[in-house]
């Protein structure tokens, strides 16, 4: 039996392509930088945020969207402390650098960690979800796709730092890119909070709202600091990867078609609109539908970007797939006429139900 399985695995690696030459110097540099960042981070997360702002201001002057035009810091009033006094502090700005319009860029996220601020977000998020969606089940994707998590094991938000990299010029990226496509760092590093530690990637949570036999849902929520983002959607031409162009937080809004694997053509239909929140918050709304070459609807998503009064942005995403929760492997359902569980109003309500934490 052991030999049978080993032989199966051997056949699986029979098509092994030649390995790329490992850049040992590059590995050491990245390892050394990660080590210093970790030591630096241990000295105080607040210091990292301030230092990052300073470094960017010195090295990369100039800012794109996301930043209010009237200044660099916005006073923020936090919820009243236990002793009844209000705590006022400011949201640091992380001005995004000017980019070369002829080049492409990608984010790379480092290790993530839970902080007091992310714990606040986690608690508020799950309070809202369990109150509003009593039939929700959170799927355990680590040990079995057919099992649900107990509430105490629900995923937590974390703080991460994302570094902006130049992509290699010679490549096209219709289906996204991987870490090996990086050319060099721009030096721009920005913190973010969320269920997902990487800018522009969504779908961390696997949820069921209808129990066994119903289609799988995905959700995500991330919070981005003032100055680091552009709240309008944008993707690279002919890219169906769903990866937005930095500093945009969502891909869209022009429909795209790209040739997929095995000569398949994939299309993403986008639909964008804007709305205003109860206190004047700007809300960017986006829906997308991923369709395969044979007309099969492979993914449908609703997402909003809510710009908060403190200049931060909250991205909330809800999507649905044809895969079935609890079914046999390969079971799928047609989702052409099924919508993601949360509509735009529900997504915005969730974003606005969270505490306005300082992202640093």
């Amino acid at each position: 039996m052991n030999d049978d399985i080993k032989n199966l695995f051997q056949r699986a690696v029979d098509d092994e392509p030649p390995a790329k030459n490992l850049d040992l110097d590059g590995l050491e540099k990245r390892g050394s930088r990660a080590l210093s960042r970790r030591r630096w981070g241990a000295a105080g997360a607040g210091a990292v945020g301030v230092a990052a702002v300073t470094a960017v201001a010195l090295v990369l002057p100039g800012a794109l969207g996301g930043a209010p035009a009237d200044g660099t810091e916005t006073p923020v009033t936090l919820p009243a402390a236990e002793d009844g006094e209000e705590t006022t502090t400011t949201q640091p700005e992380f001005p995004f650098p000017e980019l070369d319009p002829d080049r492409k860029y990608m984010w790379d996220s480092g290790d993530d960690e839970e902080t007091a601020a992310t714990a606040e977000l986690t608690e508020a998020f799950w309070d809202h979800m369990t109150t509003e969606y009593s039939d929700m089940g959170v799927i355990d994707i680590e040990t079995g796709y057919d099992e649900l998590l107990e509430p105490e094991d629900f995923p937590a938000m974390s703080r991460s730092e994302n570094e902006l990299y130049l992509l290699k010029l010679e490549n096209d990226y219709p289906y996204g890119y991987s870490y090996s496509d990086r050319e060099s760092s721009t030096g721009y590093v920005v913190p973010m909070y969320g269920l997902n530690p990487a800018v522009g990637t969504y779908g961390t949570l696997w949820l069921t709202f209808g129990g066994e036999g119903s289609p799988l849902h995905h959700m995500d929520l991330t919070v981005h600091p003032k100055g680091s983002y552009d709240a309008t959607p944008m993707s690279y031409p002919e890219s169906v990867s769903g990866t937005p162009v930095p500093p945009h937080l969502l891909a869209g809004c022009e429909d795209v078609t790209a040739k997929g694997q095995a000569e398949r053509n994939w299309t993403v239909d986008y639909d964008c609109s804007e709305a205003t929140g109860p206190n004047g918050e700007h809300i960017q709304q986006l829906s997308s539908t991923l369709i395969t070459q044979d007309g099969f609807v492979s993914n449908k998503m609703n997402a909003v970007i809510v710009t908060l009064p403190n200049g931060n942005a909250v991205v909330v995403q809800s999507s649905i797939t044809p895969n079935v929760f609890g079914g046999e492997h390969g079971d799928v359902v047609d989702i052409t006429d099924v919508e993601p569980e949360l509509d735009f109003e529900e997504l915005a309500a969730l974003a606005l139900a969270l505490p306005q934490v300082i992202v640093e």
Binding site: Y177, G203, F296
Partner: protein, 170 residues
């Protein structure tokens, strides 16, 4: 890192690159991604060299690869980087007759930890106890994950290749 440690690190990376790449490939099903995973693992190994060197470098590196894979799944990496992975899973179609595709589809159907457990046991030839150390779980968990993983492989792969000499004849 001291110069002698840097030399040790480099020697280790060169000697283990291919082996770790195959391990990563069986876990993720994509050679390019496997290279990314291995690079990520070596970068993290660099930062933990002293700690890792005190136990087992191989175990430590494999553990980083498995964790990075689970982390990528958590980050929605599949949906971001490979649109074809958003395709619904379908039963094995052997239109090109390759057993390789059948194996990889069966592995892809397994949850990450169950898949890694099988690969550690049957590809890397680790004992139940060694596998438990890499996966940081109990021996009983390794046994149950192995049994359930094998059940899936039997259902999806071994039956489909039962007419081949080394299929399900044991």
């Amino acid at each position: 890192m001291r110069p002698d440690q840097t030399t040790e690190f480099r020697e280790y990376v060169v000697s283990r690159q291919e082996r770790m790449r195959r391990f990563a490939y069986l876990n993720c099903g994509d050679w390019h991604r496997a290279e990314d995973l291995v690079q990520t693992a070596f970068v993290r190994l660099y930062g933990a060299w002293n700690r890792a060197a005190k136990s087992s470098l191989d175990s430590y590196t494999r553990r980083i690869i498995v964790n990075a894979l689970i982390d990528e799944r958590r980050r929605g990496w599949f949906r971001r980087e490979r649109p074809t992975d958003t395709m619904p899973d379908r039963p094995v179609v052997s239109d090109d007759g390759t057993q390789r595709m059948a194996v990889m589809q069966a592995l892809a159907a397994l949850p990450a930890k169950r898949r890694a457990t099988l690969i550690l046991r049957y590809w890397e030839d680790l004992s139940v106890e060694e596998t438990a150390r890499v996966m940081r779980c109990s021996v009983n968990t390794v046994k149950s994950q192995t049994a359930r993983g094998l059940q899936t492989l039997r259902g999806m792969v071994i039956e489909s290749i039962s007419d081949t000499p080394q299929g399900a004849n044991k």
